[in-house]
């Protein structure tokens, strides 16, 4: 019975072309709009007009005079090299606070280039500049190079998310947002069941709450997942957004589709009126999206951290975006746990409510 019910519920959903097209096109359209609107805002974090470099030279270092000369020569090329009087321990804080691209710390017999990963591209240029400079000095035997260390970027990467492009960012998080609204697909089936009193036939046939639930959550999850994959492909073709770690990202999207379906069905069974149920679900998803960075870049810090942390969408968004930008995410495990938690809690609630409906 379950297979036939799933098949027919899928047919009921797929025959509503308007809804399917909407779920396919809307994420791509909104990605296109938002990525355009927020492109400049997000660009602030990936481009700077002037490259700011700082340096500190220990007293008595043979490089001191040379760097003062370099600073003067570079000022016309939009590269500002300034001297900072900081200790080695203060370098990291100074880099972050002053939004520096790189910091050159020179001792008597060695130097360290601290690269700020936020300005990844520029930092590589700076690294190349200094490496060339020191190599030339070394070749000319002007100075003796004892030790050369380049490696700050790894330390700072722990604190930073490399910026996604606005197209990738909105391309990912709008898909997650629309997946959460995907319950509208199964609402067609539930509306038909209630309007036509199909439940009565199920009551006579003694269909269990679990069967009734699975017959809804499985086709709903399939429809939402297929729709979201389709929307991702469409938005890739239209605006060129991309995902990272495809296997893991698809896994997260699949889990999100199941969680969104279970959550949405619960909403529709808690509120008997379909229209009111849809409004409540969409409102709650909107808040999740608002605090989870769907409408504004969560990297902008406009939302308090405590509120952000309670939005399931925040974990999904951040995981998928970090997969794209870094190829890994510390948010992946919490994201999976939260989604599995939603599936379990909502499924228990749904089975209970459907069982109760069958016994009414």
């Amino acid at each position: 019975m379950l297979f036939i019910a799933i098949k027919n519920n899928l047919k009921l959903m797929l025959r509503n072309k308007v809804l399917l097209v909407f779920l396919l096109v809307a994420p791509a359209a909104i990605t296109w709009i938002l990525s355009g609107v927020f492109e400049d805002m997000m660009g602030v974090y990936s481009n700077t007009d002037t490259v700011n470099i700082a340096y500190e030279v220990e007293e008595g270092s043979p490089y001191e005079a040379y760097l003062e000369q370099l600073s003067k020569e570079m000022s016309s090329d939009q590269i500002r090299i300034s001297k900072y009087n900081v200790t080695k321990e203060q370098v990291e804080e100074t880099v972050k606070k002053q939004e520096l691209t790189a910091f050159l710390y020179i001792t008597k017999d060695s130097y360290i280039v601290y690269e700020y990963d936020k300005y990844n591209t520029q930092a590589h240029v700076v690294e190349n500049l200094f490496t060339t400079m020191f190599d030339q000095l070394h070749a000319a035997q002007t100075l003796t190079m004892v030790n050369k260390t380049i490696g700050y970027s790894e330390i700072l990467k722990l604190d930073l998310i490399p910026m996604a492009t606005s197209v990738n960012y909105y391309g990912i998080i709008e898909i997650a947002y629309f997946a959460m609204c995907g319950v509208v697909t199964i609402s067609i089936v539930i509306r038909s069941e209630r309007k036509n009193r199909i439940t009565r036939r199920m009551q006579v046939a003694k269909i269990s709450g679990m069967t009734m639930y699975l017959a809804k959550v499985i086709p709903c999850s399939i429809a939402v997942f297929v729709d979201m994959v389709g929307a991702s492909i469409l938005s890739h073709l239209l605006v060129g957004n991309q995902y990272g770690n495809y296997t893991e990202s698809i896994g997260i999207l699949l889990l999100l589709s199941i969680a969104a379906s279970a959550f949405g069905i619960l909403g529709l069974y808690l509120v008997k009126n379909i229209a009111v149920g849809i409004v409540l679900i969409f409102s709650s998803v909107w808040f999740m999206g608002f605090y989870g960075g769907t409408f504004q870049n969560y990297m902008m810090n406009v939302v308090p951290d405590q509120l952000r942390a309670i939005s399931p969408l925040y974990y999904v968004n951040r995981t998928l975006v970090e997969f794209q930008t870094m190829g890994k995410s510390d948010y992946a495990v919490p994201c999976v746990c939260i989604l599995v938690g939603i599936v379990l809690i909502c499924s228990l609630g749904n089975v209970f409510l459907m069982k109760r409906e069958m016994e009414e």
Binding site: M1, I4, R15, N196, I198, V204, A205
Partner: protein, 261 residues
């Protein structure tokens, strides 16, 4: 589980349903024998649909017992469900599914699978004359076709007890006649039928025994001839069932909502 006597298909003992202070079905006691077409007749709010719903276990009784095929429905409804076919008053079909898909869905609920399911679907559609319309969407069907499809959806698992709750509401005479013929055919094929309707001529035409309900109670029961005898000394063929019904229930208007609420 001790089974009751074999020929009694449905046995109601002191069946009562209350909604708050309102008693919709009041200590109803009734037996329906194998092979009968039992007509349940009554004005609006008499408790017919509630009685049907309780027999199908859609509605829980407040009090009393229901035995179907000898099984107590409170304990053993799962043993009964496969033998029971319920045709609700409403068109309980999905408009956006094709005729065969609707029948397949509802037949599969009784555990029928694969080839048996396919055969059951085709047989049911053929029985109600919709085999040529199997690919049509239910939403595009006429009222009569929807009613026939509604019936087909309850026949796929070959139930031995059929409950028709006003199955001919709002359809043309041809469709009505077709449905009545099919109910008689089902009965001839061995099914016991319980039939409720407002249309006296339908009850008169197909039912072997009639129970007249009013205010939640059976006020008269018997064949048409026996009912006529209860109210008049005239020969049975000189008095219509409607006259009997109005004599027993009165001519006062009944302005109840569905189910007497």
């Amino acid at each position: 589980m001790e089974k009751k006597k074999q020929n009694t298909i449905v046995e109601l003992n002191g069946l009562t349903k209350r909604y708050g202070n309102k008693t919709v079905v009041d200590h109803l006691t009734l037996s329906i024998e194998k092979g009968e077409i039992f007509g349940l007749l009554g004005p609006n709010g008499a408790g017919k649909s509630t009685t049907m719903n309780m027999i199908c276990s859609i509605t829980k009784p407040t009090m009393g017992e229901i035995h179907i095929f000898g099984y107590d429905t409170k304990k053993d409804m799962n043993k009964v469900k496969a033998k029971l076919g319920y045709i609700p008053q409403e068109l309980a079909i999905h408009g956006n599914l094709k005729a065969w898909e609707n029948v397949e869905l509802f037949t599969s609920m009784y555990g029928i699978k694969k080839t048996a399911l396919k055969e059951a679907v085709e047989e049911s559609l053929r029985f109600v004359g919709l085999e040529d319309k199997r690919e049509g969407f239910a939403k595009n069907f006429s009222g009569g076709m929807k009613r026939r499809l509604n019936i087909a959806c309850a026949l796929g698992h070959k139930p031995e007890l059929l409950l028709f709750d006003e199955p001919t509401v709002g359809i043309d005479p041809q469709s009505r006649n077709f449905i009545l013929e099919k109910i008689k055919e089902s009965n001839e094929n061995g099914a016991t039928v319980i039939y409720t309707s407002h249309y006296m001529e339908e009850i008169e035409a197909i039912c072997t025994r009639i129970g007249i309900m009013d205010n939640g109670k059976i006020i008269a029961i018997g064949t048409k001839e026996e009912l006529v005898k209860m109210v008049s000394d005239c020969p049975a063929d000189t008095m219509s069932l409607e006259e009997v019904f109005l004599t027993l229930t009165g001519k006062k208007l009944r302005d109840y909502g569905e189910g007497g609420l």
